[in-house]
Symmetry: C2
Subunit: 391 residues, 2 copies
Amino acid sequence: MKHWILIVATALLALPAGAVVPQTSLPGADSPTIQPDRSITFKLKAPDARTVQVAGGDGLGAGPFNMTRGPEGVWTVTTPPAVPGFHYYWFLLDGVRVNDPASRTYIGYGLETSGIEVPETGADYYAISNVPHGSVREQWYFSKSTDQWRHALVYTPPGYDQNPKTRYPVLLLQHGRGEDETGWSRQGKAQFILDNLIAAGKAVPMIVVMDRGYASKELNPATLDGLRKVFSAFEEVVIHELIPTIDASYRTLPDRDHRAMAGLSMGGMQTLFITLHHPEYFAYVASLSGPVVPDMRGARAIEAGFHDPFDSQTAFEGAFADVTGFNRKFKLFWLGVGTQEPGVFRDSIGRAVTSLQGEGVKLVYFESPGTAHEWQTWRRDLNDLVPRLFR
Amino acid sequence: MKHWILIVATALLALPAGAVVPQTSLPGADSPTIQPDRSITFKLKAPDARTVQVAGGDGLGAGPFNMTRGPEGVWTVTTPPAVPGFHYYWFLLDGVRVNDPASRTYIGYGLETSGIEVPETGADYYAISNVPHGSVREQWYFSKSTDQWRHALVYTPPGYDQNPKTRYPVLLLQHGRGEDETGWSRQGKAQFILDNLIAAGKAVPMIVVMDRGYASKELNPATLDGLRKVFSAFEEVVIHELIPTIDASYRTLPDRDHRAMAGLSMGGMQTLFITLHHPEYFAYVASLSGPVVPDMRGARAIEAGFHDPFDSQTAFEGAFADVTGFNRKFKLFWLGVGTQEPGVFRDSIGRAVTSLQGEGVKLVYFESPGTAHEWQTWRRDLNDLVPRLFR
């Protein structure tokens, strides 16, 4: 009978006044709990452990936070008020990184990693609501260039099935390093952001393609030249395999005026790498918290490239040198960053914005107040970006 | 730079001859490894641990298996040859159940649980292959009876988008206890089984609806009467909310002759509970490894009910009493079990089959040789079942 019985018991336990168990917890779990001031109480039962800590993404605070052993070997800690949004976290159980059995896991840092959703008061733009919903679909396609089946997720807007003659513009939307094609829907809630914007008449109904941003076995090159090779393999997939697959499988408007690309962090770097090299495919471009490395073809160490000055004449092989041409070609050039992000992101993005605006390049610069290099920044980014597309 | 660097390094490590890293491992992981005899080597780095064990589903062997500490605090063990298929597993790190950082996790036992896919020689019916693919779509719908947004996955067959006037029959397909709506696609690979059968001309193109089998906060009742209440809440969702949602959202053939329900384990119990009570909705019924409890309305303990004799006159409120009527009404009544499943499954299913066949009830009984109460049984079941539907 172990199959039947080995289920976590559901208990409606008494929580402190105003405390909530987040939507990232598994059904029946009573942990973690988030207090009204956004402090979070974590717990883990580990009777024989000598030390237990909790650590996680920037928005959770500095950490790791030491936990204290209580009755029956249950370790607990209450961490300082967290930034709203989605954060990855984990326990260090006698030094071994393990997940919280109470929470769902998400692909982050290349691993299945516990997540916690900290509600933001008044922010309902990424909540599921009583509006028509699009659909997120799994799309498998065989990639000859990488000799592998690839898996993408595709959002089709409300009405897609009911209007079989209507064609739609396409946004390619990429995740960050260590995440995968599920990030934008599971962590980012992109489908609800789109649903809500479309229902409010603030966005054009569109198809959103969320592909896996890896096309090479090498994931971690040390030099810009190595990164170029990795990104080039993905570029090959996007231009010659993904876009044709999507145009063949969905009712798209298959031209550059109806195609956008956006990505976060590494996905933002990939977006600039691919779109500025292939303006014939894209009229709308957005990099969300993507470090702006002006010479993506360089052979220097990545660390150095991230701190290079931005020269609008030479950056990205001269893509911005002809300002008038650039402004005519691209209907939107969008850059964003959170105010609490580390310097490597803020500085390189800031240098590019200052330089490009100084030269007269038309761009949108968006700052997310108070948020770090985490999903709340990118949800806000998407909510600002999507209404600007395909107008 | 920690966001950038904190990635598992990808290494093409030397594996023992013929050993493979399974498809359930995360990209870049070199563990676990499966040897040609299906013995499995697990490892976990835990320098300060005092004991580390690995344990898992029946197909992995008895366990837990003690692991041995090696250089740099890496614990390893090679377990006996496993049954082919998908198995849940976990480590016991100083007694605390934790997942393997090298593997993907799946919802099992109500928890995020590591999984390992052990290849079965010659079995390609559940592999992705070069045939037209259907699509698995997320379907959100608001349930008034439970006051919640519910999440289902819906497989639409190849050609669904290209033939906007074609309507399709519908199979409702339920997971087991402790699993959720993602089980049939992630663990079961139902979409590839359907793709392959449809491509081979062995199955009718159909829509497959995989809903979440919980509709009540109480998950673990101790009595049959409690189980009836839990199942009734789900029955209300299926009949009055799910089926209307699917019929409104997809191009279905919305009548009983084109609607089937099947489920595994608890899902099989739910299938019998719902379909035998609502024959006006279903013409095809299948219970996969579902314990057959003849009196689902009883007030006894579940343990007792699982061992009740099967009386074809009274079972399921007399649903089988009129044999001729039953045989006319249901176009398929399918029961299956794996030969290595525990007695609680085999015995109750065997009693029902013997009794019903003795009375002249037309049914299909399918045994999966050598497999336990695990996904390989249910993949084989689905592969046998689907070609029999809607003929």
